[in-house]
């Protein structure tokens, strides 16, 4: 089953008559990591939600290489502030598998494997809401990856984390990427964008201001706003 290429055609999000994002045209191929950058309020989160299908399109449409329903089934989303189910770490991990009808024993095996992969194995029996911020985000990431999504959205996954937790998260993302998971993440951390991006979408004021391969964008940004943003100036 193939999700890509995905084509978004003049998608828009409006709320109370005000346009938050768009119109944006976008084509995504099936490889690598796309990083969405831009200042706060540029519409990064809304764009991810529109593509994921959790925010309603006010206009435009999104075409996947398969049906939208199948596409939704093969996606996962990691939030800036991880949402922890009020259960143990193990139960959090098996939850998405159980939703898809995976048998309990099998789900448990997968959960233990993923807990080991993200370094949460000793905490399997702990209640998830009492974990530290970094541990919660790692759990959220493992819970998103456990269903082997073909496409993973991450909305500023490291915004509230320190350096070490960020490095661990990025290591997991790198291995997910090399295992063939397509990543789309938003960040306003330039360093993270450079480390992870294969291509870049630069959003400004709800519009796609500049887009291109990461090396091109970071070395020779075309627009003055992108140049200013990368210099660290405040862009509005």
């Amino acid at each position: 089953m193939q999700l890509f290429p995905m084509q978004a055609i003049s998608i828009e999000s409006r709320r109370r008559g005000q346009r938050l994002v768009g119109p944006i045209d976008l084509t995504l191929e099936g490889q690598g990591a796309t990083v969405v950058i831009g200042p706060n309020g540029a519409g990064k989160t809304t764009l991810l939600q529109l593509l994921h299908g959790t925010a309603r399109l006010s206009a435009g449409r999104i075409d996947w290489a398969c049906t939208t329903e199948e596409a939704r089934h093969h996606q996962a989303f990691v939030f800036q502030r991880p949402v922890m189910l009020r259960r143990t770490v193990l139960e959090n991990l098996i939850y998405p598998l159980r939703l898809r009808g995976v048998a309990k024993a099998q789900a448990r095996l997968a959960a233990e494997e993923w807990a080991a992969r993200v370094g949460l194995e000793p905490l399997l029996g702990r209640a998830a809401p009492v974990l530290s911020g970094g541990e919660q985000q790692k759990l959220a990431l493992a819970r998103a990856l456990i269903c082997k999504p073909k496409l993973l959205f991450l909305d500023e996954p490291c915004a509230a984390l320190d350096g070490r937790a960020t490095r661990e998260i990025e290591a997991i993302l790198h291995s997910a990427k090399s295992a063939g998971t397509r990543l789309i993440l938003s960040t306003h951390d330039h360093g993270q964008a450079r480390r992870l991006a294969d291509d870049v979408l630069f959003l400004l004021g709800g519009h796609l201001h500049e887009a291109g391969p990461a090396t091109m964008f970071f070395n020779r940004p075309e627009t003055p706003e992108a140049q200013a943003f990368l210099r660290g100036d405040i862009v509005e």
Partner: protein, 234 residues
């Protein structure tokens, strides 16, 4: 003061000797109230979850009505159930009036709004917390409701205990629909009302202390079984 003291001693002896009449009355109190509680929870908890997650036109109205019905006067509920179940009423053929079943029906009507309102409050909070995740995971409505009910189970226990407290201490409605018939529909509260009316204050007080003891014991037992106040913040 003398009455209270003799009530206490009498309560002690009634319990200590396992007075057969007391055991029967207390047992019926528990049986009626626990049955009503189980039925009420089966109605109120899914209803609370549904109202919390489903967007429909009359949602605000349903919530407002549930909250208002928390203060439903038991006597009026008893009266209405009486009229419905009486010989000439619409459900008269069932012959339920003056049976424990009629008392259960009345209690269910009284405590469903209470349990549903308290449960709705905490389920709604949990839903706000879970909303983005569950929407992203594309859960069905049934999975959503099951997840929310399971993960707010401790708050729901509190709601159920509030319902239990209201039902076991209730007298107006079950007096009307049960009739306080000896060996058939007499429970602790109706027996207390009767003994007070007869001027047997000591016996009435004794039954009252037994009732309080029973309510406290059940609450403690459920807290202990549910292991609330342990394991994390919920």
């Amino acid at each position: 003061m003398v009455d209270i003291w003799s009530g206490l001693t009498q309560a002690f002896w009634l319990v200590f000797t396992l007075d057969p009449e007391l055991v029967e009355i207390a047992g019926r109190s528990l049986q009626v109230t626990v049955s009503a509680l189980v039925v009420a929870c089966l109605i109120a908890l899914p209803l609370a979850a549904l109202v919390a997650v489903k967007r429909f036109r009359a949602r605000r109205l349903v919530i407002a009505v549930l909250n208002a019905l928390m203060g439903l006067p038991p006597v009026v509920v008893g009266l209405i159930v009486y009229v419905v179940l009486s010989r000439s009423g619409p459900l008269g053929v069932l012959g339920l009036l003056f049976t424990p079943t009629a008392m259960i029906i009345a209690q269910v009507i009284i405590i469903v709004p209470l349990i549903a309102s308290i449960a709705h409050q905490s389920i709604r909070e949990l839903w706000q917390e879970y909303h983005d995740l569950l929407i992203s995971m594309n859960v069905t409505q049934g999975q959503k409701i099951r997840t929310l009910l399971w993960d707010s189970r401790r708050a729901l226990l509190t709601a159920a205990l509030a319902g239990f407290g209201r039902a076991i201490g209730e007298v107006g409605a079950i007096m009307i629909v049960g009739g306080n018939i000896d060996h058939a529909t007499r429970v602790l509260t109706t027996a207390i009302a009767l003994e007070t009316g007869k001027g047997e204050f000591a016996l009435a007080l004794a039954l009252g202390f037994v009732l309080i003891g029973l309510a406290v014991a059940v609450n403690l037992a459920i807290h202990w079984l549910g292991r609330t106040e342990r394991e994390g913040r919920w």
